[in-house]
């Protein structure tokens, strides 16, 4: 095949430079809140009051990393980080594994049960969490699913809707021939699923994993109601608790903890940006 790949010629008009400038200013406005928090996390307590929130961490106001040390110690932050990590990783892995299997069953079996499962999942996506918050937390309590190490089962239950929906959408468009060929070659359904179907589904696995991670990592209300707040605090719970429990909140420590919370997410985002944005688009198209 001849190489006829045309190089796209981009003609830039003067107005495009103006647009670039406007967008650049807008971008600065967009990053500013995060930058402001970073600045404030480096300041002494007296320089973080409402009237001085915009001042820079220079001169006497500069406090080095003292707020970070103070915040991490006082809030038991590393513990929270661990709980958040355990919950997120276990939930997302479980959701991806179980829901992709369930979705394959739903998309390949033509029965009333399969249809019911599918429509129940779609339905569950619309239901607001407040509808089930009390009964769900009581159910979790009585089944002892109230520690960071097994709350993933609750997340699987409440997050199944979106995941099954997204996987089914993709799997319905997959050609049956490959699976049938594997079957004739002597694979049982489990082997077909893990050796043939799952590898093809990889793009959807990534997008679903990203959407579910964003949800579980940032979720506040579900862990608050299900976990015992005295024993286990995830990061969002910790920040809310810290805020509520002190008469005068120690803003410096608070800001430092917020920075520690968002920096890893932003770094992760910059590294796998491409997948995250594709995941969002894929999620939306299925929706």
């Amino acid at each position: 095949m001849a190489k006829t790949k045309e190089k796209e010629i981009i003609v830039r008009k003067p107005i495009d430079n103006v647009i670039t400038l406007i967008l650049a200013l807008l971008s600065l406005l967009w990053i500013y809140p995060v930058v402001m928090i970073i600045f404030n996390s480096l300041k002494v307590e007296s320089a973080i009051s409402t009237d001085k929130i915009f001042s820079l961490p220079i001169g006497e106001a500069f406090n080095g990393v003292a707020n970070y040390i103070h915040g991490v110690q006082q809030m038991d932050f590393l513990q929270s980080f661990w709980y958040s990590l355990v919950i997120t990783v276990s939930s997302v892995v479980l959701i991806i594994l179980c829901c992709s299997m369930c979705a394959w069953y739903v998309s390949r079996v033509n029965s009333l049960v399969a249809k019911c499962i599918y429509y129940l999942c779609v339905f569950s996506m619309v239901v607001p969490f407040q509808m089930v918050m009390f009964t769900l937390s009581k159910t979790a309590d009585s089944l002892k699913l109230n520690t960071p190490y097994n709350i993933c089962i609750i997340y699987l239950g409440f997050g199944a809707g979106l995941a099954v929906f997204m996987f089914t959408g993709f799997m319905k468009s997959m050609p049956l021939e490959i699976e049938e060929a594997a079957m004739i070659d002597g694979c049982n359904p489990l082997q077909i699923f893990f050796k043939v179907v799952l590898p093809i589904t990889k793009p959807t696995v990534i997008s679903t994993a990203i959407l579910e991670t964003m949800w579980v990592w940032n979720d506040y209300l579900l862990p608050t109601l299900v976990l015992d707040i005295k024993k286990y605090k995830t990061i969002p719970m910790n920040i809310q608790y810290f805020r509520g429990s002190y008469g005068s909140v120690q803003m410096g420590a608070m800001m430092a903890c917020i920075v520690i919370t968002i920096i890893p997410i932003i770094v992760l985002y910059l590294v796998c940006q491409k997948y995250i944005i594709e995941g969002v688009v894929a999620g939306a198209v299925k929706g």
Binding site: C102, F129, Q130, M131, M133, T135, L156, N218
Partner: protein, 283 residues
Amino acid sequence: MEKAIKKYWIIFILPTMAAFLIGFVWPFIWGIYLSLNKFQTLKKVEFVGFSNYIKVFQDETFLHAFWFTALFTLVSTIVINVLAFAVAMLLTRKIRGTNVFRTVFFMPNLIGGIVLGYIWQSLLNGLLYIWDKPLLALSATEGFWGLVILMGWQQIGYMMIIYIAGLQNVSPDLIEAAQIDGASAWDVLKHVKIPMVMPSITICTFLTLTNSFKLFDQNLSLTGGEPAKNTQMLALNIYDTYYARSGAQWKGIGQAKAVVFFVIVVAISLIQLKFTRSKEVQA
């Protein structure tokens, strides 16, 4: 093949369905049942029929929260979608720095609602102080616009990504054909681009509508409902009824509120989908 898969149902669907039953189906059914009861602990549940629902509509905080939420949803849906679409239009012009801008605008989505609320509380209170205006906790108007700004900051990037994907799918031939026919830039936008990205508009309005209506974390952390429950939205009102009000009747009423809330959310979703779907066209 179907038969073979069916035999393996215990492995394929049982785990998900068991969890789904625990995490959704059972709490949902139980929740509907409890909305018809008066209870404080689960040991003493007393059937009271629909009287909880009557009390829901007599509760002024709920009615106020409803109008506040409705207004907020309307304003934020319009603001977010118009701005996200505008930015998406600019970013599909192949200008310099497109990728950087896209990265920056999307970033706030990764930060959780609780954290976002506190970031903006500090920032907005700082600004209000400079402008000599009442702080967020003292004025419902400021609280309202604070929530709109916060939601905009968070969601514009997300919707922008979806609009960009939609706009990139509009065939250049179609636009060229319109231009040859003498269409102005405005005509192209109105008669070609917008009809062609209608599926994206459907999704984005659906997402912004439901996200705004169900907003909880940001509401809790930015204003906490202050002053005097005036900026309380429905989700927070339900939570507050459940866990913060003392009195034997409130849990039942809270559950009834949740059922009402659920019905409203479903109704809005269905109406919206029907409305925008009817405007979609085939190229």
